[in-house]
Amino acid sequence: MATAIPIQTSSLSQRKSKRPLWRALLFLAPAVIVMMIFYFGPVLWTFYISFTNVALTGPTATHYQFTGLRNFQLMFGSGSFWQAVLISLWYFIGSALIGQTVLGLLLALLMQRANPVVRAAVGAVVIAAWVIPEIVKAFTWFAFLSQNGTLNTVLQSMGIANPPAWLFTQPLLAVIIANTWAGTAFSMMVYSAALSSVPNELIEAAKMDGATFWQVLFRIVLPVIKNSIMTNTILITLQTLGDFTLIYAMTGGGPGTQTSVLPVFMYQQAFSFYQLGYGSAISLILLLMGIIASLLYIRLLNVDL
C-alpha cells in the first residue's frame, strides 16, 4: 500500500504538472508518522527489551536491567528452544513445502484442464477453507479430530471400536494437515493466475518438438512462473513460521511439547512464565529466520531455474 501511493503520485505529477516533491511528502507524512509509531515503534521496543531481563511480574517487572546477550545465551543453551526449532522445521516442511506449495501447484495444474463446472466447484471448496477466520479453522479441526469428534464418530459407525485420539497420538500431523487445508487455496490462486500467463504458443511449440508433459512442466512452465513461485513460497514461509492461533487452539502446543513450534514456545516464555525479555529475544530469532529464509529463496530460484 505505502509503496503504491508514491509511485502513483509521482507519475500523476509528471503527467499533469510539475508539482514539487515536498508537497507529496507533506501529504504522505501523516501515514508515515502513524506507521512509524504503530509499526516500527513496537518492533524497536521488542528489539530493545530482548536485551533486558524485564518480566511481567516480580522485581524485574518495574526495575529491569540491560543484560546484554544473556537471553540469547540462555536460549541457545536450552534444549527446549532447539526442540521448538526442530518442531517448527517439521511443521514448515510438512505444511508449507510439501502441503501448500506442492498441493497448491497440483490443484492449479488440474484446474487448468478441468471443465468449468468442476473448476468452479473445487475453487469454491478450497477458497471457502481459506476465507474462514483462523480461530474458526482451529475449532473446526479440533471438533473433527478430538477423541469424541466427527472423524471418530464416523469411524465408530464403520465398526472401528477404539479409534485413536488423533490430537494425542498424531498431534504434529494433525496440525500440519489443518494448516495445509487452510493455506492451499492461497497457493492455488497464485499459481492459477501465474499459469494463465504462460504463453500457449510456447507450450504448443514444445509439444510439436516432442516434449513430454514433465519436460514441458519443468523446462517451460515452472521457469516462466518462477517469480510467482518465489513470492508465494516467501509468503507461505512467513505465514507458517509465525503460525500461532491454529496450533495453540488445536493442541495448546502439546501434548507435552510435541507441537510447541517457536511462536508457541515464545508465547509460553513471555506470557505463561512472565519472561517478557526472553520471549522478545525468541521473537527476534524468529524474525531473523524469516529474513534468512526469504533471502535464501530469492537466491535459490535465481540460480537454479
Binding site: A55, T57, G58, S78, P255, G256, T257, S272, Y274
Partner: protein
Amino acid sequence: MEKKTKAVLAVVSLLATGSLLANFVVLSANATSVKRSPFAGKTITIAYQQFGGGHQTQIWLSSVRGQFQKIYPGSKIVLEPINASENEYYTKLDLMNQSAKTAPDIMVEDTFLVNSDASAGYLMPMNKFVNSWPAWKRDFYPAMQKAAESTNGTVYGVPFNTDTRGLWYDKPLFKKVGLPVPWQPHSWANILQAARTIKAKAPGVTPLWFYSGKPMGEASTMQGFEMLLYGTHNTLFDSKTKRWVVSSPGFLNSLNFVKTIFTQNLAEPLQNALTPESSTIATQQLMPKQKVGILLDGVWEYSNWLPTGPAPWPKWNSVYGVAKMPDQNGDGYTSMSGGWTLSISSKTKNAQMAWDFIKLACNKNNMLHIDLMDANVTPRKDVAAMPAYKSAGHGILSRFASFNAFTHFRPAFAQYPSISNDIQNAMENVMTGSVSPAQAMQQYAQQVTNYVGKAHVTSVK
C-alpha cells in the same frame, strides 16, 4: 366505548406522569443526601476471573456491591470480569497493573503470585488496614494470613478462600474388592497396595487417578507432584538459605512413585492423563459411573456433582469418601493449599474506599456466602464453626478444612511458574518412560540452574 377507553388512558397517563414526577422528587432528595456519604461520586473497579459456566465470584461481589451502596449512597463500584483461563487471567491482570490507567482498584489475586506481584510494585501494603480490623487477629487462621504476606511480613491481601487436597475413594468399590471402609492409608505403600488390589479385582476401573504431565499444567504440579514431595520432608525451596532445591531424595522418590503407577497401569491410561481434559474425564464422566477407585484431588471436586454443577449426581456422597494424604513413610499427613485474596492496587486513588469494600466482602456472612458457593475451605475460624458451613457438602467441606492442620503452600516467587513447568516436564518424561527418574531429576536441576543461576540452587543428599 371509545370515549371510555380514552378516559381510562388519560387517567393512566396522568397517574404515570405523577408517579414519575414523584420519583424524580425522591431521587433529587436522595441526590442531596448522597453528597454527605464519604465515598459519594467516587468509583472503584474490581477485577476478577470469570471462565466457563461458574459465576460465583460475580454473584458474591454484586451482592456486596448492593450492601456497600446502601451504606454509602452515591458510591460507584464497577465489576470488571476478565474472561480467561487461570494462567491467562494472571497475564491479563499483570498487564493491566503496569499502568495506572488500566490497573483495577481491587483485584482478586492468587496467593502464589502475591510475592512476585508485590515485588513488581503492583500491590499496596495493607498492614495499617488489617491491624485496625479486629476480625483479622481474632477470626482468621494464622496460616491463611501468612498466605497473603510477602517474605518480609507485609500483608498484601485478605484471603477469602483456600483449599486443601486429599484422596477421594469409592466406598462401595472398596468394600467389593475387600479393602477397609472407612479407608485411611498411612504411607505411599498403603496407597499402592490398595491400587493393586483394585486393579486385580475390579477390571475396567482406574485404580488411582493422578494428575501428571504438561497438559494438566499446575494441577499436575500441585495436586500431583507436590502432594508427594511435601510428604517426603523435602521441599522445592529452602526458605532458610533462600535457594531452590534442585535435587533431593524426596524429589527422586516422588518421580519413582509416578513411574511406578504409570508403568504398572495403576494410574489412568496415558491418553487420559496427557490431555487438558483429564480432570473432566475423571470427575464428570468416569466417577459418576464408579470407574475411578481413588482420585488425588482438591476439596472442590464435589461441586461438579451438585445440582448446579456440570454433572449433577445426587448419590455422590454415599459413594465417595475422603482420606488424608499420608507422608511417604507413615510419619504423618500432608496437603497443599492455594487460595485467593482481595488485594488493593498500589496505583489506586481510593484506597480507603477499596479497603472498606474488602472489609465488607470478607465479613462473616459474606465470606460464608462465597465459600459455600465455591466449595472452598474458609480462612475464617468463625465461619468454619457455623452450622451452615459444617453441614455443607455433607460435611466434606469441614473434613477438608481439618487438613489445614498439616497443609503446605507453594513457594510464591516469580520463578515458580517456570519451575512448575519443569516439574511437569520431568513427570511427563518419567511417566512415558522416555527417561529414568534419576535422569529426569538431573534435567530438572540443569533447567532450574540455568534459569535462576548457580547461586540460587542447592541439593539435599
